[in-house]
Amino acid sequence: MEKTTFIVGLDGSEAGARALAFAKDRAKADGDCAIIICYVIEWSPFAFQTAEENAKRHQRREAEIAMARERVLDPSLTMTKAEGFDIEGVVRHGDAAEILDSLAREKAAKQIIIGRVGARGLKARIFGGVAGRLAAASSVPVTIIP
């Protein structure tokens, strides 16, 4: 039988840590499970940039990925691996809700687990936060940890 995969959205916040803790509980209960933690760097191909930003973009992107790994993913990976879980980390650029959903499809995940962060800013109020949009459009079940 194939392993059951959980996708966990991490953003370095307390809520993200709670989501990972919940995933670990589920994995323990279910037995043969894999956890994929994903950090999404908010990015849009339609944002406007200056010529100089464009020229240095590749460099910036590498730095962003390295920082996300170092600050958010690696500590969680080390800790969770030490506890005996099957876990991997992914960093991607894009829209958080879209990336988590496409990752779930790509890895044939059973569900997506994210922490609930209160709506931040005007954009989140108008268009809904990541949790709201994911719950509305995801192709796999979503668990939102309060």
């Binding site: 760097i41 990015w43 191909p45 406007f48 940039q49 200056t50 100089e52 590749h58 991607r92």
Partner: protein, 516 residues
Amino acid sequence: MSKVNYIVAALIAFFLPAMATAQEAVGLDQRINTIFADYTGWYVSFIFAPFPGTDFSWIALWLVVGALVFTIYFGAIQFSGFVHSIKLVKGDYSDPNDAGEVSHFQALATALSGTVGLGNIAGVAVAVSIGGAGATFWMIVAGLFGMATKFTECTLGVKYRNEYPDGSVSGGPMYYMVKGFKERGLPLGGAMAVVFSIFTILGALGGGNMFQANQAHAQIANVVGDYPGWITGVVLALLTFAVIAGGLQSIARVTSKIVPFMGIFYVLVSIMILLINYDQIMWAFGQIFVGAFTGLGIVGGFTGALIQGFRRAAFSNEAGIGSAAIAHSAVRTKEPVSEGYVALLEPFIDTVVICTMTALVIVISGVLAQDPETGLYIWNAELGQITTAGDVSGVALTSAAYATAFSWFPILLMVAVVLFAFSTMISWSYYGLKAWTYLFGEGAMKELIFKIIFCVFIVIGSAASLGPVIDFSDAMLFSMAIVNIIALYFLMPIVKRELHSYRTRLRSGAIIKTKI
């Protein structure tokens, strides 16, 4: 702000009083003008020299003929590839693994922010007030041809760019001149690159800087009343310096976000005015079409309209000048041709859409005086243009035309002109810097020297009425096109080979859509 930035800011502050004094001392302005005109006047006259018996500068024809040659050579790529270009910009063919890199859309938007500006607002007004409605027709025709030039230069820009170990990129005509000529076994590539770089630096300081600063100040003074130009210059110079040297990317980011919306808003207001006057749209198109072939009473008739339209298109979208090849080369793609496709949308947006909107509103608003009986324009021989309300031209004419529908428009136009000028300066500071580092090598100190020179020229541009200096630097901008288009003629077989390979793989399914 680092220590170096403080020192530079202090240096600028030190020079300011000197500039203010220079402005007050009109004599100094005039002396500089005279000296400059004596030494450079012949070159300016040479670049903008008309064909005997016409007032059509050969440089505009050089750009239009180039565009025509590329259109024929690449089988009217601007029409056959238009839909594919849109799909590329939408990201239909983008590799998901490249998320976070520079997208096709971003490269296009950045290049556009350097070209959309005063040319679309003031330049069109000048063209229509001299060439009549018919100039619009020829402007559209030249804009459509220019799309093929951009395709050629931007494909080469990406193909021959330098990618450095730290991941940053540098590209542009100087790189394809050297590498492309070497690949084809042709001599003089290096020499052309050096000449092109010198023209680019001078063009960046002039057309891409002093002219913009000068016009931005003129527009603000026009709305709020006259005040010393150096004040505008200092504010613009400090803002620019904060962006390009101080690393204050937040200002650049705000500008790069506002400018596109300003452009979209400008087009929307134009469409609204056209909709309000919907019953006149067909009449306006009739005027444009008839005027294109008869001139409707302007001096020079048919050729008068053609000259003005061609000139405006060539000067507005920068096709063939080579600046776009620098801007587009930062894109993340394995296919240089794909960026060529994207770049061909630039003259379309700049000239065919935005310039045409300005022209249509001016025609429909009725600010150009026409004889009610004959329908011919009333020519003002003294000013050398069609009689307009208040005998205005340039930005003021565009402003008057839009104000016939919305009285608040001149204020919006002032904001738009200043923002467009600022974003054009930021873009050209980058083009100039790339040419500078090509000549003198990369390095923080060398780059800082150029950035300081660039900012000092902003103050000079807005404070002084240095006509001959600005004329000379404008001539430099078009000198870039002489070298660049020669290089394009020699390198176009390489682009054709790339295009053939790309199209074959597109048909065979080797290049597939990533977005369904």
